[in-house]
Symmetry: none
Subunit: 418 residues, 2 copies
Amino acid sequence: MVAEIICVGTELLMGNTVNTNAAFLARGLADLGISVYYQTVVGDNVSRLTDAVHTALDRSDIIITSGGLGPTEDDLTKETVCAAMGIELIEDPHTRQRIEEFFKRFRKGRIVTDNNWKQAMIPKEGFAIDNDNGTAPGIVCEKGEKRAILLPGPPHELKAMFTDKVVPYLAKLQPDRLYSRMIKIAGVGESNVETRILDLIDNQTNPTIAPYAKMGEVHLRITAKASSEEEGMALIEPVAAELRKRFGKAIFTEEESETLEDVVIGMLRERGFSIATAESCTGGLISGRLINVPGASDVLNESYVTYSNEAKERLVGVSHETLLAHGAVSEETAAEMAKGAALAANAEVGLSATGIAGPGGGRPDKPVGLVYIGCSVKGKTEVRRFEFRGSRENNRSHTVQCALILLRDMLLFTVDCI
Amino acid sequence: MVAEIICVGTELLMGNTVNTNAAFLARGLADLGISVYYQTVVGDNVSRLTDAVHTALDRSDIIITSGGLGPTEDDLTKETVCAAMGIELIEDPHTRQRIEEFFKRFRKGRIVTDNNWKQAMIPKEGFAIDNDNGTAPGIVCEKGEKRAILLPGPPHELKAMFTDKVVPYLAKLQPDRLYSRMIKIAGVGESNVETRILDLIDNQTNPTIAPYAKMGEVHLRITAKASSEEEGMALIEPVAAELRKRFGKAIFTEEESETLEDVVIGMLRERGFSIATAESCTGGLISGRLINVPGASDVLNESYVTYSNEAKERLVGVSHETLLAHGAVSEETAAEMAKGAALAANAEVGLSATGIAGPGGGRPDKPVGLVYIGCSVKGKTEVRRFEFRGSRENNRSHTVQCALILLRDMLLFTVDCI
């Protein structure tokens, strides 16, 4: 089965937006074992979109579009694709009702302007996919052997809809499937990971290992083509075992959807520990990321953003002498912030970050990107020093990631000691 | 003049790489006033790439490709494009010499394997563009009125080559350029904005207005085609003035790179105010976003993550009675959190958020997505109620955005009162 991706949007053609939707959809189709030979980007223009749809339907079984489903005059993907496929549009009472409810709940007092109702029109041969994150529903057109799946452009709407609704729909159309397992590694660099698995990658046919690096993590996806899940897993398991042998505790999860913050919150919960952060350069982002996890309230009651020196002293008890002798960005201050956060919140664990995020504020001995991260677990404290180089935003994101890695390392150690 | 972008690479089709080259090239072409109607991604496959090149040359004056210029067997962009255009390849002594020098300087001790020499082959009708960051030169093919510009895939090679060599080449072919201005609006929905400018969009030719929505903001780009910056700005200014009249204070900036947090930090600084946040469901993300801004320390000394009820009482003085009577997620609690944050930090401004981010914790009267955002400026407090719907992460991002909008509204009002 061959699919083709068509992304609709003048902002893509103008280069105002990077086409992350195409990469997301391509990755999802690859996981399903569906081949993609072409991706196209076209503007909000009826004749050119019509051309692109005809070309795509001639050479592929399925087309997936993103964008152009909204209420404005520019949004014409649905009308154009249905016209190209010779499919009539009819009003869907269910979708109309959902739009009404959306406005009632989220746009109180705002009038539902007429243009919104065109979003309730759906193909006679096909169906709508509910949008839980916006008003424009997704659309599936079915004409003979051809399928067109139309998704909204905003990435969070598109991603949720593709994962929850489109993947199960496509899986039914495709017998031989890809099965995969994910192994997520933290705290080991990408090229280090790749070097250590080069022999496995060089000899691979089925299953394959695909490394994917994101900030401070490397995700290894093991993928096997098989006719059943049992067969797929039997192919995958020996490779997974080998990777476990090679990377040991650097593997923080094998769950596809589990994040590093999920893991550390789980570890805190298991141990009956609570945590508080004291943050300077990260300004609350570490705490914010921990609270990403539903139920984080079991282990986190409060945290402190201590940006000024005075706040470091008053809120988490960093000593005036330490700040004078070593400065706010120092191993000593990071240690006292971590200990102090735990103490102030009456928590077992304190986590701190203090650094020079940039672009200003650097000095020869304390350059931009210098960050100290501290973690204190039941009185035992460790501080790690980093020199990041990148934008302010980048340095702060790296700091959050490295703080979670330090926390995980400390918690692993805690269990080893018991 | 119309150009078309073709990106060559299996890694793009598989979704392993996000196509940042396409966005970069599109932006550069837009700045030159060259229209782009299609972008295509195709794998390293002769017959499909040939099809894509023929289609593109039929409908466009210029094609620009990225990728597939390297030394390996998979790299076949140059051979394929030249064959499609009927152009012969000949060896270029200058390029051959550059490859030899590159290996001498950067690949000491490595043998220049035979496949490298194919990079020295250049079109008889056209020329090579020196690559200062790698071995594969760029290629320009010129056949009649058609041009094909082939660039290497690695973004740093492509970007340098495009900016330094291709832009001047294209500028000579194209007298008119595009000039643009950005107008950013917060707190007005996308379809509302579009409805209010429909008449302008319907009648536009030069300049044009392109709306682009991102969470809680709508960005309007006004673009004019002109032969000089003066002429361009003269075309843009009346449209900008009209938009200012229609959207007034909802416009938070006209600076391309300025963010909402930049603006509110600037407003606080102008007024000599400092700010502290008290955050429950956002867990520090509002404070974290404010501290995105370099120099935020002028206006933010500390903030509080008050996730538990007990922390709300102890850290920012929410009264026990309020929590009992109205609950943690209530207008009253949000107001006391905002006032209490300002008081505890001895700041002029307090900003608070308390809500049910989900997925659990919802009740009929307090559903998932219910959020109260409070802002207190010099004792005057306002609370806004929201019902977001989406993932936990999404609800929290929306909350951060709406908190900054409320803060800006309150600060605007402060100036009006002076």
